[in-house]
């Protein structure tokens, strides 16, 4: 079965063949997988070497001439390292690009902190509200989201992961209800690959579970329609990244919010992603403990 990275490579290769506006900028990561596309389109497949600042600067320049650049690397190099280039070479110039990352949060568990970027979505939030952030939960969601991004000129961040759900929901740009609780049931919002552990964690609980692969812009009308008093966020990046948006959306409604996600602390441990999910309380057992405690705490 194909993974998200392969879906990205296949779709981008097709876009380069189909649309002369598409250009790809790489910083060595995934360069070999685009070798044949590069032979066909040497002027639009650009590997700048291990130079991430230049990768985003080049993307900005390409966009200034009317092309639609796609830039790609590990999240920590693409976003964290080149943050000021994203801010100035794209946003401040008034141009967009499609930034496609791999290595989400603790996918690179064995590589350690240097290859991890749980704060990437929060960094886009710091740039204002212009960025669309896509966090697919299944490889089959990648192609439609990437094709949609390629047709616009807007800034889009596509955050790919090795973690995945069993089912794809390509239409879940807004909150899509996958399990509906009884009247006034608590709302649990799962983003991207957090869906399956969330469904497992809430099995047998009277909650409504809604899924989205698009945390920015967050579907706040959907949130208002579905939310009752208790809201739980389950995000695959820094815990609390969407708390401010939820609080703003529900500012005039009495509510309680539990925001789950990756912890702030560098654990300085290796292991595999499942270990990190457990250590951050994001496996089904950990989620169930946190959600049960939160919901059970009503009225003491």
């Amino acid at each position: 079965m194909t993974d998200m990275r392969t879906a990205f490579i296949d779709t981008t290769t097709a876009l380069l063949d189909e649309d002369p506006r598409t250009a790809l900028v790489l910083a060595d990561i995934s360069a070999s997988q685009f070798a044949s596309a590069g032979h066909r389109h040497p002027d639009r497949v650009l590997n700048v070497g291990i130079r991430e600042q230049l990768m985003i600067g080049v993307a900005g320049g390409l966009a200034l001439t009317g092309l639609r650049p796609i830039a790609h690397s590990y999240a920590t190099f693409l976003v964290d390292r080149a943050y000021e280039q994203i801010k100035l070479d794209l946003d401040h110039q008034g141009v967009g690009a499609v930034l496609v990352s791999i290595g989400a949060s603790y996918d690179g568990s064995a590589e350690g902190r240097t290859h991890q970027s749980p704060g990437d979505v929060a960094l886009f939030d710091s740039l204002g509200d212009g960025w669309t952030v896509r966090v697919p939960g299944h490889p089959d969601e990648v192609a439609p989201l990437l094709r949609n991004a390629a047709t616009s000129d807007d800034p889009v961040y596509l955050r790919l992961s090795e973690q995945r759900n069993a089912e794809a929901y390509p239409d879940a740009t807004g909150l899509r209800v996958l399990r509906r609780g009884l009247t006034n049931a608590p709302l649990v919002v799962a983003v991207g690959p957090m869906l399956d552990p969330t469904l497992a964690a809430t099995e047998g609980m009277d909650v409504t579970v809604a899924y989205t692969h698009t945390p920015r812009p967050l579907d706040t009308p959907g949130l208002r329609a579905l939310a009752n008093t208790d809201v739980v966020l389950v995000e695959p990046y820094l815990a609390g990244t969407s708390s401010a948006l939820v609080s703003r959306a529900l500012a005039d409604v009495p509510h309680r919010l539990l925001a789950l996600g990756v912890g702030q602390t560098d654990l300085r441990r290796y292991g595999d992603p499942a270990d990190h999910a457990r250590w951050h309380g994001l496996d089904a057992d950990g989620l169930r403990r946190s959600i049960s405690a939160f919901l059970g705490s009503v009225g003491g």
Partner: protein
């Protein structure tokens, strides 16, 4: 393709620059660029207010966004912006700030100010033009010698040379303001990466013109314009 006949803005520039009174902090850097800008806009660049959005225009990117008084004055002298805009630099309603914003100022190709961004954008612009078969426009980018301290420039210098990006001309105005200098010279950083380079008197318009119109096929080109020390 539209071409621009050589003009001479010498008579108007001093008066226009004097109208920009709010930028004393960056005054030395403003005056450091005036000769290069004048030669570029008077004699080299094929771009006018009428062709400011033409895909075939030459691009000029001011990377060193500090002290843009001379830049604004040259844009006014060539009709890109009204002279009156010069009287309210960085005012509450002004479109002209201490660092230029491309979304506010006609004719400005990039917003700049944070150092080390223009050369990467220029490389991307040159690549984007080439990918669309636009082989006539040149891309000029102006930097300062101290700006070269930023490592991002060196990513762009190496890559532009390695890929023979011959539609690119970088101009480094050298007023010896880099804190640790450039042992071995500025040009060597570029030429070792495959650029051609001319180092000229940055106040000599004929020398600047010759250098700015120089270069060889399959090599990006550098002009080092040496001027008096910032002092």
């Amino acid at each position: 393709m539209t071409t621009t006949l050589p003009t001479d803005s010498s008579a108007r520039l001093p008066g226009l620059i004097r109208r920009l009174t709010g930028d004393e902090k960056h005054a030395p850097s403003a005056h450091s660029t005036v000769d290069v800008l004048q030669v570029l806009y008077d004699r080299v660049l094929r771009v006018t207010p009428d062709t400011a959005d033409d895909p075939e225009r030459n691009r000029f990117l001011l990377s060193k966004g500090h002290g843009p008084a001379a830049y604004y004055a040259v844009l006014a002298a060539h009709g890109f912006i009204p002279d009156a805009w010069l009287d309210d630099l960085a005012g509450t309603e002004s479109r002209l700030g201490h660092h230029p914003d491309r979304l506010l100022v006609p004719g400005v190709e990039i917003g700049s100010g944070s150092l080390g961004h223009g050369l990467g954008l220029a490389v991307g612009t040159a690549l984007g033009l080439r990918a669309q078969g636009l082989l006539n426009p040149r891309v000029y980018v102006l930097l300062g010698d101290a700006e070269l301290d930023e490592g991002s420039n060196h990513e762009a210098i190496a890559y532009a040379g390695a890929t023979s990006l011959d539609s690119l001309t970088a101009v480094v105005v050298d007023n010896s303001s880099a804190s640790h200098g450039w042992a071995g010279g500025i040009a060597s950083r570029f030429t070792v990466n495959g650029w051609t380079a001319d180092t000229v008197d940055g106040r000599n318009h004929e020398a600047l013109y010759a250098a700015l119109t120089g270069g060889r096929p399959r090599h990006p080109h550098l002009v080092v314009a040496r001027i008096e020390s910032k002092g």
